[in-house]
């Protein structure tokens, strides 16, 4: 069970959205990381047969994407902007979408409540879609993506716009359903990947700039992450010189996190690298731009 992507290209007019993408995605959670506009959604739409590729080969569990009917039966998709008809209740919306996935009445009678239970929407089964919060909608979205028991689940930026609590709950939900399946999760939020995925690919301007395990990504910056206390006034200058991946300011003193091949400051000490450091380092090397991390 795997998704094979070979020399995939996609262009919209003159703009090349995907340039020669090669990927092998095996079962488990797979994270697709990259800044906005990197081509993540395009890649996912090609896998779910919603966009035609320009060149290359894409097979989902041995089935080429040209066979859209077969692919759609095997995949569950949660688009970035998921919603349903506002006047439907959670139950009705899921039931409707289950019909579109070809489930019989009997199957739906059994599966719909089961899925609602699974995504913790049982109590809100009669809530109208238009009255749902972002998190509820996303959970409904997952329910509809897995109700027909697909081999592949594709979720596009599922945690965007969720509050931290909802985000954690949503990640856990994804991990739960991921067993025995291929789950492709795209995000520009590094924390999502860190918490859930073993294998990841980083996409930038239509190109894969990293493909491997999380630990391999961490390996890239191992021993190169430093932390130091500096005066807040110096930060601007530091950013010019180094790749600053984190800043914690309290009063006039700030704690900065820096990724650097050598010890950047005298008082700097080595700290454990996290995925965010690695990701920013990767992007930094790739684009040559100075990137700054989270400011708190």
């Amino acid at each position: 069970m795997e998704i094979r992507i070979e020399n995939l290209q996609k262009s919209y007019g003159k703009k090349q959205a995907l340039k020669n993408v090669n990927l092998n995605i095996k079962s488990g959670m797979f994270g697709l990381l990259g800044p906005n506009g990197a081509g993540k959604t395009t890649l996912m739409k090609i896998i779910t047969t919603l966009t035609k590729k320009t060149a290359g080969n894409v097979d989902v569990c041995m089935v080429p994407v040209e066979n859209s009917k077969k692919i759609r039966e095997m995949t569950g998709y949660l688009p970035q902007e998921f919603s349903m008809y506002g006047n439907m209740t959670a139950y009705e919306a899921l039931d409707y979408l289950a019909v579109l996935s070809g489930l019989s009445r009997k199957e739906r009678k059994e599966k719909v409540p089961e899925m609602l239970e699974k995504v913790n929407l049982s109590e809100q089964r009669n809530t109208k879609v238009r009255a749902m919060s972002g998190g509820m909608k996303r959970r409904l979205g997952i329910a509809q993506a897995i109700i027909h028991d697909p081999k592949v689940i594709v979720v596009d930026e599922p945690t965007a716009g969720l509050d931290p609590e909802e985000r954690v709950r949503f990640r856990n939900l994804l991990c739960e359903v991921a067993s025995e399946k291929i789950v492709i999760l795209s995000t520009h939020i590094v924390g999502d990947i860190e918490a859930t995925c073993e294998n990841i690919a980083v996409l930038n301007e239509g190109e894969i700039i990293f493909n491997g395990t999380v630990s391999k990504l961490l390996q890239m910056v191992k021993g190169n992450v430093y932390q130091a206390q500096v005066s807040s006034a110096e930060i601007a200058q530091l950013k010019e010189q180094f790749l600053v991946t984190g800043i914690l300011t309290s009063g006039s003193i700030s704690t900065v996190k820096i990724v650097s091949d050598e010890k950047p400051l005298k008082n700097a000490e080595q700290v454990q690298a996290d995925v965010e450091d690695a990701y920013l380092y990767l992007m930094h090397n790739c684009t040559g731009k100075k990137l700054s991390g989270k400011e708190v």
Binding site: K15, T41, L50, T51, P79, F82, Y85, D95, V129
Partner: protein
């Protein structure tokens, strides 16, 4: 089937459905309810009545008489009704053209225009020409007035009405009882009124349904499902057609009751199926074609443009027709705005069948086109079609 029933349920929960029912019922009852008093049509005509209504004639004498009267009147007020592009258009002539027209009238009647005008109110035009010469003169008149006037040969021969005699009225009465079984007469009138609304209303259902996915941001997820495009479009189409037709049918069933009663009371056996039969033949194809066109146009454009297209088509069809009774051709809005005329109707009924069959066929084609457009959109990704979202991420 379950998708179809879910679509029906969605329509049942929509505002547009109830607005439609209110408009339809109000319209039919105000237009048609008034005619309920005309149930006395069932009364036998009696000799010596003042009038017996009108009928279309094919008698050249009568046609010439009617047309000459008409052209003198229109020249007198200098206002000619024409339907050049389907729409009603009033023509006024200038001095020179009027003089030419007066000359033509002189050739028709042998009377000078000044003499005609001097005692216009009491003037009865004598027709001095043979029918063939009359047609030539009228052709000249059409040249002056322009396209689509009442003096074109076909127009005159199909639409000249004259008062009925007692014998005509008896014949009419007999055919209403024996051929229409009373209810048939009223069913045609019901369809005549209903078809006007149904030439427009389904477009609003179609546009609403086709735009709904995008409006609800449900397009992406629905596109990704394994269900075939044909099943999606056909279920939606059928659901809309059925849900529009159902209230029409129920109205028809209710509205026929007084006619059945009064027929039975007069000892005439009424045709219980007439309203249903006429509705299915006359109105269902109308709903089908309007819905189908709105689906195809809306899937193609992603906008509300079907409304304007349908509006123009329906009005062009209504206004272009020079008669409100029969002459079906391939008109979208087929009318029979009169009570009775069973014989005349039966003479033309095959044209009606051909007309309606044509539109059923066209509906099927348009639904197929909608399916095609939908499946292309589904594969290419809606983002490339709608101008809302940028491509890429």
């Amino acid at each position: 089937m379950s998708l179809f029933s879910k679509e029906c349920k969605q329509i049942l929960k929509s505002l547009i459905f109830y607005i439609f029912i209110v408009i339809f019922v109000l319209y039919i009852t105000t237009q048609f309810g008034g005619d309920a008093e005309d149930i006395n049509l069932i009364n036998k005509p009696e000799a010596g009545q003042e009038e017996y209504g009108y009928k279309i004639t094919d008698n050249p004498e009568e046609i010439m008489d009617y047309a000459v009267n008409g052209i003198i009147y229109e020249t007198y007020i200098n206002s000619y009704s024409t339907y050049p592009f389907g729409f009603y258009k009033e023509i006024k002539l200038n001095e020179n053209e009027l003089q030419d027209m007066e000359e033509l009238i002189y050739r028709l009647t042998g009377d000078k225009w000044d003499d005609i005008v001097s005692d216009y109110d009491n003037y009865i035009p004598p027709v001095k020409t043979e029918y063939s010469e009359f047609l030539e003169i009228m052709a000249d008149a059409c040249e002056i007035i322009g396209k689509g006037s009442s003096y074109e040969k076909e127009e005159m021969e199909n639409h000249t009405t004259v008062p009925m005699t007692y014998e005509d009225a008896m014949e009419e009465y007999e055919s209403m009882i024996n051929k229409d079984h009373v209810t048939g007469t009223y069913a045609r009138l019901f369809c005549d009124y209903a078809v006007i609304l149904l030439a427009i209303i389904p477009v609003f259902f179609g546009v609403t349904r086709c735009l709904r996915d995008r409006r609800a941001k449900a397009e992406g997820v629905i596109f990704s499902k394994s269900v075939s495009s044909a099943k999606i479009i056909i279920s939606r189409y059928m659901a809309n057609v059925v849900m529009i037709f159902l209230p029409v049918l129920i109205t028809a069933l209710i509205i026929q009751i007084p006619y059945i009663y009064s027929a039975e009371a007069a000892g005439i056996s009424a045709d219980y199926m007439a309203f249903i039969r006429y509705s299915v033949i006359w109105l269902l194809p109308e709903i089908m074609i309007v819905t189908a066109l709105s689906f195809a146009v809306t899937e193609l454009t992603g906008g509300i443009w079907a409304i304007f297209i349908q509006f123009v088509w329906a009005f062009a069809s209504m206004l272009s027709s020079s008669t409100l009774v029969g002459d079906f051709g391939l008109k979208l809005v087929v009318r029979w705005n009169t009570l009775g005329g069973a014989d005349s109707y039966l003479r033309q009924v095959n044209d009606l069948y051909i007309n309606r069959a044509f539109y059923v066929g066209l509906s099927v084609v348009l639904v197929a086109v909608s399916i095609l457009i939908y499946s292309v959109k589904r594969k290419k990704g809606a983002a490339e079609h709608g101008k809302i979202r940028k491509s890429g991420n």
